[in-house]
């Protein structure tokens, strides 16, 4: 097995810290990795969606109008993400609530 602390970028000096300190370091690391993975996924989707929406005929360079479209599209996609997120969480909460009533 490889070295956990070097694989996950934890400072090796953490092995000498208190359990509490090291535990928090691991948690922070996990949170950061997941936030990064989430952001990467979002950026990939935005790239894919906005390229196909804004660049219909790829020219010799990115036109100003295309750049404006991409910037707007990015904002709209994140807006859509938030709306979807709200709807989904509402639904999950509604369903877990009604399930509680049935029990």
């Amino acid at each position: 097995m490889s070295n956990f602390s070097s694989d996950y970028g934890l400072p090796s000096s953490s092995s000498s810290g208190s359990i509490e300190t090291r535990k928090n370091a691991v948690m922070d690391q996990v949170r950061n990795e997941l936030a990064l993975a989430n952001a990467q996924e979002l950026i990939n989707k935005i790239n894919e969606k906005c390229f196909s929406k804004c660049i219909s005929k790829p020219g010799y360079r990115l036109e100003n109008s295309e750049q404006t479209c991409i910037a707007k599209c990015m904002d709209r996609y994140m807006e859509a993400w938030n709306i979807v997120s709200r709807s989904y969480i509402n639904r999950v909460q509604r369903e877990s609530h009604s399930q509680g009533e049935n029990l």
């Binding site: 092995s15 359990i19 709209r76 979807v84 997120s85």
Partner: protein, 89 residues
Amino acid sequence: MSSLSTKSGNVEFDEASQKELAKFLESENSKMRLQQSIHTFTDLCWDKCVTKIGNKIDRGEETCLTNCVERFLDTTYSHHQKVVIIYES
């Protein structure tokens, strides 16, 4: 080094911390799965609901996105029900 140290010697946690970490990972994992679903729904519903790129998501698009998520989950649920019925018969 205490007797709790693992092979690598870098990760040593007492039982309470191990439990806490396991719980933490479980909750982060379900958060991640939730976010992954939101990515999938946004991908799907964006194509259906957002046709033009304006300065804001308008009312119509917003309603469409909300309905899209709801109907997608209805569809999933009804498929699930059918499969359960098939398995039970």
